[in-house]
């Protein structure tokens, strides 16, 4: 009884807090707009969303794999890096155009992740969860360091050769490049395609069933190991596309390039609610926007951006660990 009373009395207080937050947000936006002008602000938002679209493709892999095997696959950012290099070789060495190059990157990453899952994670399926987590970190280090060897990708920064010339269009003072349009377009197409696979196809329904209850899924005759492999492959294909798009936006690649985008996409997935596909998408757009706003407005912003990204992670864990779209209790045995 007391608890209910306390809750009723607290409700207006919560509203006041939300109102204060909203007012603060509006004031902040107003402040930023008048600081350097509305065009500068709008450009920052635009660039932030573009970055967010790339994060989304990475975050989806984290969230899908987590949803199915409850594993944070820390090697996912490095699969993204391999995607960037795969498309680099396709374009710079073999002279392929954009579409075959991005498809090549997706296929390479997909195969790589299937091998990783079979070799590193599958033997640990019945082991305590911490074992797979440590293994994921190990796989991450291995991929970064192995690919940095001279006979692999080498440890140098490499200038990424874009598969097309960049053209810039101006709209009301905003600059939009064809690269931006391609990044947004490809991401939207992939996300909608993914949503179709998960919602409508037989294997997608089996993925959802498996993530809810593995033993019931087995009793339906679902090959759970196959579904898990499929999920890893699907996430990796998206990471391969993300690697290609990221390199087109920021055309300098090296073997440690996956760490920060990987961690930020992971943060975005947690922000949206780990395990939730729409959550990963929305969280990523927010994450990308925060990232670029920090760079655009704070002094030393380009050095502080990572600090802010992980501040977001800490705040989410403190305030709402289940994230925006997360269900109250995800754990199930």
């Amino acid at each position: 009884m007391n608890r209910i009373l306390a809750k009723t009395l607290l409700r207006p207080v919560v509203w006041v807090i939300y109102a204060a937050l909203a007012a603060g947000l509006l004031y902040g936006i107003g402040y930023l707009v008048q600081l350097n002008g509305p065009t500068y602000f709008a450009q920052a938002i635009l660039d932030g969303l573009r970055l967010g679209f790339v994060y989304a493709l990475i975050a989806l892999g984290y969230t899908m794999v987590y949803g199915i095997v409850r594993l944070i696959n820390f090697a996912h950012g490095d699969v993204f890096m391999v995607g960037a290099f795969a498309s680099y070789y396709a374009v710079a060495r073999y002279g392929w155009s954009f579409v075959p190059a991005i498809l090549f990157a997706m296929v390479i990453c997909l195969l790589l992740n299937i091998v990783i899952e079979r070799v590193a994670y599958k033997p640990l399926r019945e082991a305590p969860r911490i074992a797979s987590l440590i293994t994921a970190i190990g796989v991450s280090f291995f991929l970064e360091s192995f690919t940095a060897l001279r006979f692999a990708f080498s440890a140098d920064y490499i200038t990424y050769k874009r598969p097309f010339e960049v053209t810039v269009w101006k709209f009301w003072g905003l600059s939009i490049t064809n690269a931006t349009v391609i990044i947004v377009g490809v991401t939207l197409a992939l996300v909608l395609g993914l949503q179709y696979v998960i919602r409508r196809t037989k294997i997608g329904k089996a993925m959802r069933a498996t993530s809810l209850d593995k033993s019931a899924a087995r009793l339906m005759g679902i090959n759970v190991d196959g579904v898990i492999t499929f999920t890893f492959a699907l996430g990796a294909a998206l990471a391969g596309a993300a690697g290609t798009l990221y390199a087109i936006a920021f055309p300098q690649i090296w073997t440690f390039m996956g760490i920060m985008p990987g961690l930020k996409a992971f943060t975005a997935a947690v922000l949206g609610g780990i395990g939730s596909v729409p959550g990963a998408f929305v969280g990523s757009l927010l994450m990308g926007t925060v990232d670029v706003l920090v760079v655009s407005f704070l002094p030393l912003g380009s050095r502080l951006r990572d600090l802010f990204a992980f501040l977001v992670l800490i705040v989410v864990f403190l305030v709402k660990p289940t994230g925006i779209f997360g269900e109250p209790q995800v754990e199930k045995v």
């Binding site: 037989k202 329904k205 089996a206 959802r208 069933a209 809810l212 209850d213 033993s215 019931a216 899924a217 087995r218 009793l219 339906m220 005759g221 679902i222 090959n223």
Partner: protein, 235 residues
Amino acid sequence: MQLLQVDNLHVAYGAIRAIQGISFHVDAGEIVTLIGANGAGKSTSLRTISGLLRPYRGDILYQGESIVRTSPERIVKAGISQVPEGRQIFSTLTVMENLQMGAYTRRDPQEIESSMQRVFRSFPRLQERQSQLGGTLSGGEQQMLAMGRGLMSMPRLLLLDEPSMGLAPILVDEIFEIIKAINAQGTSILLVEQNAAMALSIADRAYVLETGRIVLEGDAKSVLRNPQIREAYLG
């Protein structure tokens, strides 16, 4: 004809021996029930038949062939389907999608559709609620969905684990009527129940389990009349 034959089965969870040498069989067309208290090994038996657990000794023959090394999906495909304890509905899948998962091992969309219609005839309420999420159904409806889902693979043998658990008496009657109807249409049934009176009232034969061993077997009527059983399970 013996459809399922369990022969001297031993199953352990680590060091705990849940089943210590049980043998029983189900003939084609029969309803056979395993009754016994909590922890007697009833669910473990069903999970082992479905291939979720591996026995460390003994054998399970289905239509004369051993299935103890067979994967769960092949066992479903061969014609053994299980409706698990606690129903294990996929809560954020719709009723329709839950049923589709039951038909996961089948290919022909027309045959799947006709099975779906048959399930809807047995459980009209599922048809009304086909686009609702499984988790939003009441307990009785969830049990019906679990049974409908189990039938979607067109099993020759249906394993039912505690179908009456947590249901109001009137729903229990309804569920048992449906079990009889499913059996009358030619599906053999292996029923695990704590509600021994109910199970014995519809079964042809019964086995009584106690701490991993069969202590009594016989046709359901004679088990029902056994004074020790009356005292221990029927109050």
